[in-house]
């Protein structure tokens, strides 16, 4: 008999001409938490789908407790005790929590008729140990992301899962929600569930995992005991080279105040937020997810104008009622969600680049496409976009290069203030560096930059000043050269009460 509950050998999976998995190996011991790490596009998501039977591998073997298995559908893998919690929660938003938990294994009577009462009772029994404030009769869409994940866990438990795969479960959770999840995960391990924990964050791995496997470019790189590999070696394994400096040298000179935010409030999102930003400065806006950072940015950009408070821009009081006003003034936003807010995947790159300001390409009422393309090429070359050509669709690019297209779109407008909402979210470690370089260059050329970020090292490494938000209020302002990670964390978590934060 094998030591491993699950073992994959030489698994290959291709889509059309794309190799998503190129001969990967994986071994999961019984009752362990095994971290699976790798950059975006390393093949982690495909890997899960192969295990659960969503995809079938082109070649390779999968052994479950030493016996070779092949799954034709998720049904079959579920029956063998394998459950997965996907990165983008795969719930049915309009259906109730109960129905989500029992999807595919509903409790029925002999005639095939649902027993709703019994299902709800069982659902409550499953959910209550995980969370006390989830109403099982409510629609899934009324829950927070963290609660939805708990429902997914309950769903896995209801199937008596022996192997649980979690795909970046902490990606959009706040710190305390993460801690809650860690405890639940450990509890499951103690009950004998073997867990594959896929993550981007080293924090998750150190906190939970005993072993770690790394994929890179669809290939298997290696596996280690967590306590026997250094941080540096692990990064090396993930990116395939040493990152000498994580953050590039700053050259920008900080100038005059360009924008002042005075006491702005938005019902239900944030209250009395004030800060200022200067030319050439990178101001970081940080705090937990849900603290109101994105909403503050959207308010300044006019997506949802503030209810009260004022904004001064270049010394003048201004009113920003829509993104049109903001762009006219010279304020641009790089939105948090590239795919739905930043890019139009069906249109060529150059039309994406020109989309926020087409006026300069209009000649006699007609769009001058030649000029439009020439200008887009110039901008894209400046930020070293890697694409086959300028009329390729953005969907053909990697995450980092897609983000560069959105940058080019902002640079196409005559802007003075750039608001960057999580500019490196979902971008490979390597590609992040070039985004940082672009940010520094922009600051050096006089742009004022407001950067929203959840990653503490990024905030400390890039910012000239740090503003921390906590549950819709400003919780403090820090100088990155003096502040420590702990201080900033304290401010975002309200470990010590800050002056002015409580009124």
């Amino acid at each position: 008999m094998s030591d491993y509950i699950l073992e994959l050998q030489d698994v290959v999976k291709t889509f059309g001409g794309v190799t998503a998995l190129n001969g990967v190996h994986f071994q999961l011991k019984k009752g362990e938490i095994h971290a699976l790490m790798g950059e975006n596009g390393a093949g982690k998501s495909t890997f899960i789908k192969v295990i659960t039977g969503v995809h079938r591998p082109n070649s390779g073997r999968m052994l479950l407790e030493g016996k070779e298995v092949t799954f034709k559908s998720t049904d079959e893998s579920a029956r063998m005790g394998i459950a997965a919690i996907y990165q983008h929660v795969t719930a049915f938003p309009d259906l109730s929590v109960t129905e989500n938990i029992f999807m595919g294994q509903e409790i029925k009577n002999g005639l095939g008729i649902y027993k709703w009462g019994e299902m709800q009772k069982k659902a409550r029994e499953l959910i209550e140990p995980l969370s006390r404030d989830i109403d099982v009769t409510k629609a899934m869409s009324t829950l927070s992301v963290a609660q939805q994940q708990l429902v997914e866990i309950a769903k896995a438990l209801s199937r008596n899962a022996r192997i649980l795969i979690m795909d970046e479960p902490t990606a959009s959770l706040s710190k305390n929600e993460c801690e809650q999840l860690y405890q639940i995960t450990e509890h499951l391990r103690d009950e004998g569930v073997s867990i594959i924990f896929i993550t981007h964050k080293f924090e998750d791995m150190y906190r939970l995992a005993s072993r770690v496997t790394v994929f890179r470019d669809a290939k298997y790189i290696g596996n280690w005991d967590v306590d026997k590999i250094s941080n540096k070696d692990l990064i090396n394994a993930m990116v395939g080279r040493e990152l000498t400096a994580m953050y590039p040298e700053k050259t920008a000179k900080i100038g005059d105040v360009i924008m002042e935010i005075n006491n702005i409030s938005k019902e239900g999102y944030f209250k009395n937020i004030s800060f200022e930003v200067r030319k050439g400065e990178i101001l970081a806006l940080t705090g937990l997810v849900g603290a109101g950072r994105t909403e503050v940015c959207q308010s300044i950009f006019g997506i949802m104008p503030p209810d009260t408070g004022s904004i001064r821009f270049e010394g003048r009081e201004v009113e920003i009622k829509s993104p049109i006003d903001a762009l006219k003034l010279g304020i641009g936003l790089l939105p948090e969600d590239r795919q739905t807010q930043g890019l139009i995947n069906e249109l060529p790159i150059y039309q994406n680049v020109s989309s926020a300001d087409m006026s300069k390409f209009i000649k006699g009422g007609v769009i001058d496409t030649k000029e439009e393309q020439r200008s887009a090429i110039e901008l894209c070359q400046k930020i070293q976009l890697k694409a086959s050509d300028i009329s390729a669709p953005p969907s053909s690019l990697s995450g980092g290069n897609q983000q560069k297209v959105v940058f080019a779109k902002l640079l196409n407008c005559r802007l003075k203030v750039l608001i960057l909402d999580e500019p490196t979210k979902g971008i490979d470690v390597g590609a992040k560096y070039s985004i940082y370089e672009i940010m520094n260059e922009l600051a050096a050329s006089g742009y004022a930059i407001i950067m929203v970020s959840s990653e503490m090292p990024e905030v400390l490494g890039m910012a000239d000043r740090i503003v921390v938000l906590r549950t819709g209020r400003k919780a403090g302002e820090f100088d990155p050269h003096e502040a420590t990670q702990e201080q900033i964390l304290n401010a975002s978590l309200q470990v010590k009460s800050e002056g002015g934060a409580k009124e």
Binding site: P335, Q341, E346, A356, D357, K386, I390
Partner: protein, 348 residues
């Protein structure tokens, strides 16, 4: 990445004219279909085909729906739909007819009709863009409402007092050869080609149709643009009322013109405009309008009843969609292969 610095990439798009892909474009496929229909007609009824006036009648028969087709292209481009346009057309006819009955001079009466159309479009646009209701529901309901208003006002009567040029537009040929209605359609078509494919307004429609949220973040007033498109649709319904009333010999009643909205949608779809929004051009629907005219007229000449012609229309529509779906799928396959090769290049 750092090691690639200084290495400037050539991003120039290869936009040269390629005969092969031009000949395979959907618009050209439509031209082939048009030719095939013509040859069929020639073969089946050579006597009629070569009689003077036949071709003109065929074309004229298809022109009353043509303004609706052009307006519908813009609405579909947004990913919306307008099933009220036939009712709006009748509503606009009524506005003109009632004005004429009241002794208002011809030109103001025509303008009142057009404004009636724009007003209906405005109501639709307001509900879709600013209240946020789904376009299908809004226009199903407003279609009942607008036709209902005509029913209330006209009851079973019909209006007969229309400007004389209405009939001329629909039935006259320039120099006895070129149908006047076709000329007007082509002029309007050219304007719509400019509007959708060359102007900034058109680009906004492509952006909104593909990703409205991104449009908003790019500083486009999505709501206003939608409102304008529905108002243009209303205006085109008003213009359609001129063609339609002329075609009917200068009279209109509340029960006329039902099903025109479906013909307009079908023609757009045959012309390659996606009902999901953001895809298609104006050329396609222009050619498709002619195909529909030839198709129905040819069948008419073969003594096939109008109701049976519906079967053919339905089948043509479904086959056209199947073909274009199939082409899209194979395109997507090619694109994903191309994207893969770019990614591999990048990795190097």
């Amino acid at each position: 990445m750092a090691e690639n610095q200084g290495n400037v990439r050539d991003l120039t798009a290869d936009e040269g004219f390629k005969l092969g892909s031009f000949l395979k474009s959907w618009e050209m496929v439509l031209v082939y279909i048009l030719i095939v229909v013509n040859i069929t007609l020639m073969a089946v009824r050579p006597d009629l085909y070569f009689t003077s006036g036949t071709l003109q009648s065929i074309i004229q028969s298809g022109m009353d729906v043509s303004p609706l087709v052009l307006g519908m292209v813009l609405v579909l481009m947004l990913g919306d739909i307008d099933v009220s346009c036939a009712s709006v057309m009748i509503f606009a006819s009524m506005c003109t007819g009632l004005s004429m009955d009241q002794g208002i001079p011809m030109i103001p009466s025509v303008i009142i009709g057009l404004l009636g159309g724009v007003f209906c479009g405005f109501i639709n646009g307001l509900l879709v863009a600013y209240v946020g209701m789904p376009a299908v529901i809004v226009t199903i309901a407003s279609s009942m409402l607008f036709r209902g208003i005509v029913e209330i006002i006209l009851n079973v009567n019909s209006l007969k007092n229309f400007p004389a040029f209405y009939v001329n537009i629909s039935w006259d040929n320039l120099g006895g050869v070129f149908p006047l209605s076709l000329l007007i359609f082509l002029i309007m078509g050219a304007f719509f080609v400019y509007l959708l494919q060359k102007s900034r307004f058109g680009r906004k429609l492509y952006i909104i149709g593909n990703n409205a949220t991104c449009g908003q973040y790019s500083g486009i007033d999505v709501k206003k643009t939608k409102l304008i498109v529905f108002m243009i649709m209303g205006l085109m319904s008003g213009i359609a009322s001129i063609f339609f009333v002329g075609r009917m010999g200068g009279s209109v009643s509340s029960s006329m013109g039902t099903g025109y909205e479906m013909n307009a949608i079908a023609t757009c779809v045959l012309g390659g405009v996606s009902t999901n929004g953001g895809k298609g051009k104006v050329y396609g629907p222009i050619i498709a309008t002619l195909i529909m005219a030839f198709l129905t007229y040819t069948l008419g000449l073969m003594n096939i009843d109008a109701n049976i012609r519906k079967i053919v229309t339905g089948i043509v529509l479904i086959i056209a969609i199947l073909i274009s779906n199939f082409r899209d799928a194979s395109d997507a396959r090619k694109k994903s292969l191309a994207a893969a090769s770019v990614r591999t290049q990048e990795a190097k």
